[in-house]
Amino acid sequence: MEPASSKAEQLRLQIANAEAELRGLRSQLSQVETRQEQHPPPDQSSHSGVPPEIKSPWKWPLQQQECERYARQLILPSVGLAGQMRLKSAAVLVVGAGGLGCPAAAYLAGAGVGILGLVDGDIVEVSNLHRQIAHSHTKVGMNKVDSLAQYCTDLNPHINCVRYATHLTPENAASIVSKYDVILDCTDHPTSRYLISDACVLSQKPLVSASALRTDGQLIVLNCPPAPQGSKDGGPCYRCVFPNHRPPDGVLSCGEGGILGPVVGVMGVLQALEAIKLVVTGPAPSPEVPAPSLMLFSATGTPTFRSMRMRGRRPDCFACGTSSSLTLDALQSGMVDYMLFCGVRSPVRILGPDERITAAAYSSMIAENPGFAHVLLDVRDREHYAIGSIPGAVNVPFAMFQRTEMAGQGGTRPDWLPDSLPPDAPIYVVCRVGNDSQLAARKLKEMRMGSEHRFIGDIQGGMEAWKQEVDKTIPFI
């Protein structure tokens, strides 16, 4: 049997050689592939006639193009090569591709964050463009994440953008958040703010949270360091700082309250800065954790920037506290009702059908009887009223109804009610979409404005309905 065993030995040797060769080929292939990934744009040297094969293997951590691109931040002692390499291997998630998310993502892309995740389910609208700097007139109607990803990769082709064209939900939040090192909350609603914070606590990720409205902004770095639930070493979460949500009628969005572009821009840029600081410094040595602070920005305040010392983790916090029952399963199965917790407001229904008139009915009533004695009160803010209003409407902003002097005047006649008007002439109230008008009409009734027979009611659906039913040309914002 000797020839057979010698044959077997030969075959074993051949196989071993072939395997060694295969290993060598695989290793070469992976080196070539890595180089291609690190260097996505066409190699300049191929245009100069030097074939890439004869170049000696690149022996430096950054490619020449990357060194040039990041040179000005790379030479900062606080960044350096180590910091740049951390940025390159970091994954940062920007939730919200709007007024905060656009500038934040732009600076993160510019700085060379390796993987930039972008989450937003909205599409670009014209009213976004004065502040959401990555979008443009030609991108109206496009998914915000597609528009922002395009902007970021145009700015820096060395980075990878991961697009999530969806809103963050309790079902998808933790699985998205867990893939990233740092999370930026660039959203515009309390429900998403609590959800993102909970997902960050569960996934142990630091959260850079900012918000802006009108001329004010707020910024705070949360869950930093991101210690496990119940650990006293972790930083406070959003719920530690704001354990209860206030009832909803105090909440304004940028759409309702207004926002100055540079105000939200400043806050987004600061978020990028905080995220870059977190990535570049790497895991902070535990004794050097700074006390949490809330930064307040006010365009009209003095001083413009203020820093407030904040509390640490709340031991009884619902999310990060010592006896918290919040788990990934509980989050994903919808056991936390964010809408309920934040008291999301449904449309106001306080006037009965006989106290309301449609925009079309009001319009034809006036057309049939031009001299009809009545008052039409437009209770929107002056700024809205000035842009376009119903002919003959008198502007008495809703806030005026809340002033002490107005509410307390009892039987006296307000300025807007003409002396010549019969005491039973009807009063119609109109607002933007038909919520405040009901509240104002109710208030007028309580103030006993005129005789008991006087009709006091509102135009259903407000100026939005007026535009749809009566005058398509009127500007509506």
């Binding site: 007024g99 409205l213 707020q218 969005s253 806050m267 307040l296 010392r309 809340q402 002033r403 002490t404």
Partner: protein, 115 residues
């Protein structure tokens, strides 16, 4: 920066404080962010003036809006409003029980959500 003076019996000792509102709360206080006030050093029962006393005082004397419920709910400050005493979260200072000192700066900030 108007100094708001109210008629009071001369024997009540007063102290100066600066009260500020931001994040939209100024809307309830004549659209004025900064109020330099002179408030009683002690309550009518002779106890030191606390932040709880100040909140009630503001509702009675400074607020020019009927929507008191946007500032106070169930006799406590409305959730979602942060109080910062001399640039520190009031939770670090004893919350409502903090005894106000002459010259203190008390800032009421409403949480913002826009973005």
């Amino acid at each position: 920066m108007a100094v708001e003076v109210e008629a009071a019996s001369p024997e009540v000792a007063k102290m100066p404080v600066v009260v500020e509102f931001s994040g939209g709360l100024e809307m309830l206080f004549s659209d004025q962010r900064r109020h330099s006030l002179s408030i009683p050093v002690t309550t009518s029962e002779g106890k030191p003036a606390t932040v709880a006393f100040l909140i009630d005082y503001l509702c009675r004397n400074t607020m020019k809006d009927t929507r008191k419920e946007l500032f106070v709910l169930d006799d406590h400050l409305r959730p979602g409003i942060l109080v910062l005493i001399n640039d520190a979260d009031w939770e670090l200072e004893g919350e409502e029980a903090y005894e106000i000192q002459s010259g203190d700066n008390i800032l009421f900030v409403s949480t913002l959500h826009g973005g």
